[in-house]
């Protein structure tokens, strides 16, 4: 017989990643005749996500998949589901430590690891020395915080001679990142590299540098490889990024939930692979669809 699975997403439409994720998720569910899904979107608002959790619990779905808007704040909501006997699978960005006891599994990329990858690429590209700036995602959101954390820690450890001049947010917004980069360019006479929390912002920073005539020799590293980033890489303007497929992400989440429901023994942390992508190895990857 069919299982009913509810999913509450973080903020569909804020970027293509989440939209593509949603599509892939629905497609995967439709492909499976035994699955019925309830797809909800929290619009980036924690409180709304909590209400959606309540609504899903109230409807007594068989399992809940949640893409938390905030790792901490969803812990009680997840606990409620757990107490109501509904298994919870966390997708994409993880729940806080305190909530680990109440989830069946996590499935998604490792954002801290991605930050680490980016730091390693930056070190490689700069040969271990130089001055860089960082443009982060929307302040206060887990993905942004984790990527920054992984990057900062790994960079300091791996190449202490690379100095970070400043860190400012780009709000996941290309124009905003472009503006921030323009100001960096005025402020610093030497910038050797730029790390951006995703490629969308990275391309904004690249645009600013090109307009200022200073892109030559500047290293651009991003995360979540978007099509624009891929293309810029192909043109040789963009150094590297982290390849992360929303389709893999969505399918992994659904599969994890189904495995949990089937009573299989699922590991707590299911990270799917998000490899480094650079100008050198980009041929091995398809151009992202988003």
């Amino acid at each position: 017989d069919t299982v009913r699975i509810g999913i509450t997403q973080n903020n569909v439409g804020i970027d293509s990643y989440q939209t593509t994720y949603e599509r892939a998720f629905i497609a995967a569910a439709e492909a499976n005749p035994d699955v019925e899904v309830i797809v909800l979107d929290a619009g980036g608002d924690v409180a709304r996500q909590i209400s959606q959790m309540q609504d899903l619990i109230q409807q007594q779905v068989d399992a809940i998949i949640i893409w938390p808007t905030d790792g901490q704040a969803l812990v009680p909501a997840v606990r409620n589901a757990h107490n109501a006997g509904i298994p919870v699978v966390v997708t994409n960005s993880n729940i806080a430590e305190a909530g680990m006891d109440f989830i069946a599994a996590f499935s998604g990329p490792n954002n801290i690891q991605q930050g680490i990858y980016s730091a390693e690429m930056m070190c490689d590209a700069l040969g271990g020395e130089g001055q860089i700036v960082q443009i982060t995602g929307m302040p206060g959101y887990t993905t942004a915080i984790e990527r920054q954390q992984g990057f900062d820690e790994r960079l300091a450890e791996m190449c202490p001679d690379v100095t970070q001049l400043d860190i400012q947010p780009g709000d996941w917004n290309r124009e905003r990142a472009q503006r921030t980069m323009e100001t960096f360019l005025t402020r610093f006479d030497t910038i050797d590299g730029v790390y951006s929390g995703d490629d969308n912002m990275g391309v904004g920073a690249l645009n600013a540098a090109i307009d200022a005539g200073r892109a030559e020799g500047m290293v651009f590293i991003g995360a979540t490889n978007f099509a624009v980033g891929y293309d810029a890489m192909a043109r040789g303007e963009y150094w590297g990024s982290v390849y992360q497929s929303p389709v893999d992400d969505a399918e992994a989440a659904l599969q994890t939930a189904l495995d949990v429901l089937a009573g299989e023994d699922v590991p707590k942390l299911n990270y799917f692979d998000t490899p480094k992508i650079t100008q050198e190895n980009m041929d091995e990857f398809d151009r992202p669809v988003f």
């Binding site: 293509s16 939209t19 969308n200 645009n207 099509a227």
Partner: protein, 324 residues
């Protein structure tokens, strides 16, 4: 004599409040970073402020006419997504007029609901803010749009071109500001907008077609959004579905900083330009100083209140309000 003039509260002095605030602010900031007042930086700030600035011009006119427009943020997302998406589908020479027309239609809906049906502008444009955001997402299917041939298209001139070393966005913003300033201060239309905003009833009793004037102010606002979208799309060469999110409040803050009264009937285009520049210089200056981004919010808080306070104080001729 000077004190008397200061007390006279005429239009000449009303300008001074915000101007004084602006000059004070620039002096303080230029002491804190030596890169602040360099020509390069000033040009860069001017260029960055063009998008918000162009939208603020339109919103100023709406506000002088006694209404609000909170839908400009979503509308900017709409227009940018549309023009960028169509760019690759039908080419820029068709994409631009189609986008302008579609944006004007949204402006016309605002104008119809507020100007003709007389619904409250705050709530209508709030509703439109939400509805248009949904429209954008439905149109794009939630996907980012990008111009593939970023280097080859002439569409790039609006955001990245320059004439005599002056960036195109600055030229567009400057020309529009002058144009709207002239329209508002010297033409019959401008006079009517002030009248309708100042006292709608008396305007009707004076034979002014109030509905049509309000309707037109929303068309102008939409037109400004369309122009801003061209600059934005051309500058970024792509668009997210939520590029304009939150711009409505930045725009409104700029208009307010410019001393335009939310009650309608008073305000000035040139002072809005000051307001826009002031906000842009705050953002820029604090990054130049290496301050964390949230300092910017705290500084904006203080600057908005002090600047508007100085402005109203200059108008009424005393510092503290007469409210008991």
């Amino acid at each position: 004599m000077l004190l008397n003039r200061l007390k006279a509260g005429g239009p000449a002095i009303a300008k001074q409040g915000i101007l004084v605030a602006f000059i004070l602010f620039m002096i303080v900031f230029s002491f804190m970073s030596d890169r602040f007042l360099t020509p390069d930086n000033i040009m860069s700030v001017f260029r960055q402020s063009a998008i918000i600035g162009v939208m603020a011009l339109g919103v100023t006119i709406v506000v002088i006419g006694g209404n609000l427009d909170l839908s400009v943020g979503s509308m900017l997302s709409f227009a940018t997504v549309l023009v960028v998406d169509l760019h690759d589908k039908v080419g820029p020479e068709l994409a631009i007029p189609i986008m302008v027309l579609a944006t004007l239609c949204l402006g016309a809906i605002n104008g119809f609901l507020i100007g003709i049906l007389r619904l409250n502008s705050l709530i209508v444009t709030l509703g439109m803010l939400s509805a248009i955001q949904g429209l954008v997402l439905i149109y794009s299917g939630g996907q980012n749009v990008d111009i593939v041939d970023q280097r080859g298209t002439w569409f790039a001139i609006f955001g990245r071109g320059s004439v005599l070393g002056i960036a195109a966005p600055i030229i567009i913003f400057g020309l529009l500001a002058i144009l709207f300033h002239v329209i508002m201060t010297t033409t019959p239309f401008g006079r009517k907008v002030y009248a309708v905003g100042g006292n709608p009833t008396a305007s009707v009793f004076s034979g002014i077609p109030r509905s049509r004037i309000v309707f037109t102010t929303y068309l102008i606002s939409a037109l400004c959004v369309a122009v801003a979208a061209i600059i934005l799309g051309s500058r970024v060469m792509g668009s997210q579905n939520n590029v304009g999110q939150g711009y409505e409040l930045q725009v409104l803050a700029a208009v307010i900083l410019g001393g335009t009264s939310l009650l309608g009937g008073a305000g000035s285009i040139l002072k809005t330009v000051l307001g826009v520049l002031m906000l842009a210089f705050i953002q820029n200056g604090l990054i130049l100083m290496g301050q964390p981004y949230y300092t910017q919010w705290l500084v904006t808080w203080v600057v908005i209140i002090v600047a508007v306070w100085l402005d109203v104080a200059a108008k009424r001729g005393r510092l503290f309000s007469p409210i008991a």
